[in-house]
């Protein structure tokens, strides 16, 4: 058996992963350098709704995140410092080990001047410049929410600010957490995977399989209505939302089992269709959101 495993290089390499991790942690403890990782939360071209969603997280909540899990050094919405004092936090962290979390798309029109996130030494710091500067140096880059992962609503037709995803301006792996907004657990869980195992398991579109592996439709509590062809005619009906335009069959998240806001509800349970906010191409490719004129039963 040992012989068989030793010829399998994948297995050997996996063993080495654990070994490396343990060695690294032991070294750092011995040297007294084991510190909480620095975390930058960058808000770019968007609605800043992902930081609000993060504040909605419970166990782990925001307090646990910033006191126990990571060293949050920058958040436009929450930090005390302002002006260049605030931007200096970004500059100071550049040469440390840090994780970069980005919400919002990257506005590229007019060389990025459609979204200025601060000033450094009198010069405007555009979203474009900031994400390139920090994205190249970060240990991990996480794109959070629809706008950061694929442009989202900020890039909706005709895309007046010429918004693009974080990935399209960075030549490196970007972990993608789509959703409008991103569920706080999807972020916290992925961050925990990074902190504990360094590399979360991702699918072909760089989404953590832990949260994005299964279609909403496959776990929808109203699936039996779909199978029997019993469709809601209007919002508020308790049957399948398919004919109103439900995008559950093309959207991969764990909304039906996880639910939102301390796990009390989610759009389909609220008697509305899923609008595919976690699908790449939202909103343009997921519209129309609500239709009443879809054929429910064919004449003939």
């Amino acid at each position: 058996m040992d012989g068989l495993l030793s010829v399998c290089h994948g297995y050997e390499a996996k063993q080495r992963i654990v070994r490396n991790l343990i060695d690294k942690v032991m070294d750092e403890i011995n040297e007294g350098t084991l510190l909480k990782k620095n975390l930058i939360w960058l808000e770019l071209t968007g609605c800043s709704g992902n930081i609000i969603s993060l504040l909605n997280g419970a166990n782990p909540d925001f307090k646990y995140l910033m006191t126990k899990m990571a060293n949050l050094v920058y958040s436009n919405s929450l930090m005390t410092a302002e002006g260049e004092d605030a931007v200096s936090h970004l500059v100071n962290v550049m040469n440390t080990d840090f994780i970069l979390a980005v919400e919002g798309a990257v506005a590229t029109k007019n060389n990025g001047l459609y979204n200025v996130i601060g000033k450094w030494r009198g010069e405007p710091l555009t979203a474009l410049k900031a994400v390139k500067m920090l994205g190249e140096k970060a240990q991990h880059v996480m794109a959070i929410g629809a706008c950061a992962t694929h442009g989202g609503v900020s890039a909706a037709h005709p895309n007046p600010a010429k918004c693009v995803s974080v990935q399209s301006v960075l030549k490196r792996k970007v972990i993608k957490l789509p959703g409008c907004p991103c569920h706080p657990d999807w972020f916290m869980g992925t961050l925990a995977e990074i902190l504990l195992y360094d590399a979360p398991k991702l699918d072909a579109k760089d989404r953590p399989v832990l949260f994005y592996s299964t279609l909403i439709h496959d776990r929808c509590p109203r699936r039996s209505f779909f199978d029997k062809g019993i469709f809601a005619k209007k919002l508020g009906d308790h049957t399948c939302m398919f004919k109103l335009g439900c995008r559950g069959p093309v959207t991969r998240t764990d909304c039906p089992v996880r639910q939102w806001n301390k796990y009390v509800n989610w759009p389909v349970e609220d008697d509305t269709p899923c609008i595919g906010c976690a699908q790449f191409g939202f909103p343009d490719l997921m519209e129309p959101f609500i239709s009443y004129d879809t054929t429910r039963k064919e004449r003939e």
Partner: protein, 470 residues
């Protein structure tokens, strides 16, 4: 001596902005507020399915998404000539109330408190260069503990919202007719229970905290005053059986409270990057074309005006106009009014909940009109919000949004009248021009939401004065 002070980013707001102030002898002589984010929602909405506006426009803003679902729904109902039932209105106003509470809790504790209370600076998030923290450590630390406790309260406010709205931010509940789902007894009692906890927190912690802060920062009753013109589109008002629970549409101009007339709203473009035949437009008129080469212009934002005059909108305007709080118009009064309003919203919600009939469905199948137009004007957390829609060939053919932050942070108008917040900054005495904390504190009292007030950045020609890097 003249100095120019630039603060960018103004943190602890939603979105990105810059404040630029010219200071002479420690006094602000001129000020400009600039939004630094442009997305162009009005352009994006053209050609889309009108019903989608309700979920689409919420993405304008992550902290006040429900506000946009309210205004877009009311605009659609107006265009469809649809009158919602009273139960439908109660239900969606309850959702709106949850958003008020979430906003006011987060704005007061997470955005305002760090200006006045020293947060534990062993965390990099809370380090700052200035030292103007005046509270004795015992009181300071008590408020710090409430800062962290408030996180659970604002989270619960969104939980309450999600009970009826599916999720937050960007709820699914608010829609034509009221809300999507039915308020069953279990949902009602859950909301009541959460509301009770939040109510206790507001009474026992939030209110004493704001009064404590105001004691140590008395000078903030003297700055950030502005024009004293106040405006509200009204909210939680004009119920058939319950009357007005909070405020009817009204304005305060030259010391007189007067009724509000929507046809008096206009948007001026004299100092904005647009050119058109007129200097001033009505909300439903064709949008003027962009023109960045206009010499006078310095921003993308148009200047919303009522009777051609700038107005302040928001909690203080509502508290003043409704007669609940008339201590003054200043930075600190604005902050106190926001906290008092949180308590008021709890009371309004309690009445609405008491009048709910459980299990009622307020939804039906709707038809998009071939051609129509409508307006949705409502006061929301940050103030007066208006959506205007035109429908042609069953698609959106025109969409106009004038946000509360556009009112408060507007640019100069034709008669060279500064925007409301710009005016509030002018005249302020700066204690330490190396650490001009006053600017951020004054601006934050308006609770700016730049995600909502979509402007764009431009490099202006340099001013020949020394530049202070704050």
């Amino acid at each position: 001596m003249t100095k120019k002070i630039v603060i960018n980013p103004v943190t602890r707001i939603s979105g990105f902005m810059e404040i630029e102030a010219i200071i002479e002898n420690n006094k602000i002589m001129d000020a400009k507020t600039e939004g630094l984010l442009y997305r162009g929602f009005e352009k994006m909405l053209m050609g889309r399915n009108p019903f989608d506006a309700v979920y689409f426009t919420q993405r304008i803003c992550g902290i006040c998404s429900t506000a946009h679902s309210m205004a877009s729904t009311i605009a659609l109902e107006d265009a469809m000539k649809f009158i919602p039932t009273e139960q439908g209105r109660y239900l969606r106003d309850i959702i709106h109330g949850c958003e008020f509470l979430q906003n006011h809790l987060r704005h007061f504790y997470q955005y305002t408190i760090p200006d006045f209370v020293r947060l534990p600076n062993n965390y990099p998030l809370y380090t700052t260069e200035h030292d103007d923290f005046r509270m004795p450590s015992k009181i300071n630390d008590l408020i710090v503990s409430h800062y962290f406790e408030s996180l659970e309260m604002s989270r619960s406010a969104h939980e309450m919202l999600a009970v009826l709205g599916g999720k937050a931010p960007h709820n699914h509940g608010v829609f034509i007719g009221g809300i999507s789902t039915q308020a069953t007894t279990d949902k009602i009692i859950k909301i009541k229970s959460i509301l009770h906890t939040i109510s206790e927190f507001i009474e026992e912690k939030m209110m004493p905290d704001v009064y404590k802060i105001s004691e140590y920062y008395q000078d903030y009753f003297q700055n950030g005053c502005g024009y004293n013109n106040l405006l509200s589109y009204g909210c939680f008002n004009d119920y058939k059986d319950l009357g007005t629970l909070y405020i009817d549409p009204s304005i305060n101009l030259d010391g007189k409270v007067l009724p509000f007339k929507s046809e008096r709203i206009s948007e001026e473009i004299e100092h904005s990057w647009y050119s058109g035949e007129q200097k001033s437009y009505k909300p439903l008129e064709r949008l003027p074309e962009e023109d960045m080469n206009k010499p006078k212009a310095y921003s993308w934002i148009k200047a919303p005006r009522y009777e051609n005059v700038p107005f302040e909108t928001g909690p203080l305007a509502r508290q003043w106009l409704s007669g609940a709080y008339r201590n003054g118009i200043s930075t600190m009064d604005r902050t106190i009014a926001r906290v008092l309003e949180a308590r008021k919203i709890v009371q309004v919600m309690e009445i609405l909940i008491k009048n709910l009939i459980p299990n009622i469905s307020v939804q039906s199948e709707y038809k998009v009109p071939q051609k129509a137009q409508g307006a949705g004007l409502i006061d929301t957390t940050r103030g007066a919000l208006g959506h205007w829609i035109k429908i042609g060939d069953q698609k959106i053919s025109f969409y106009q949004i004038i946000t509360p932050s556009a009112w408060n942070l507007s640019t100069q108008s034709c008669e060279n009248m500064k925007g409301t917040a710009e005016q509030a900054l002018i005249g302020t005495v700066i204690q330490d021009s190396d650490n001009p904390v006053e600017l951020g504190r004054i601006i934050r009292s308006f609770d700016p939401c730049i995600s909502c007030a979509t402007h764009v950045y431009s490099d202006r020609k340099p001013v020949k004065i020394m530049k202070v890097v704050p």
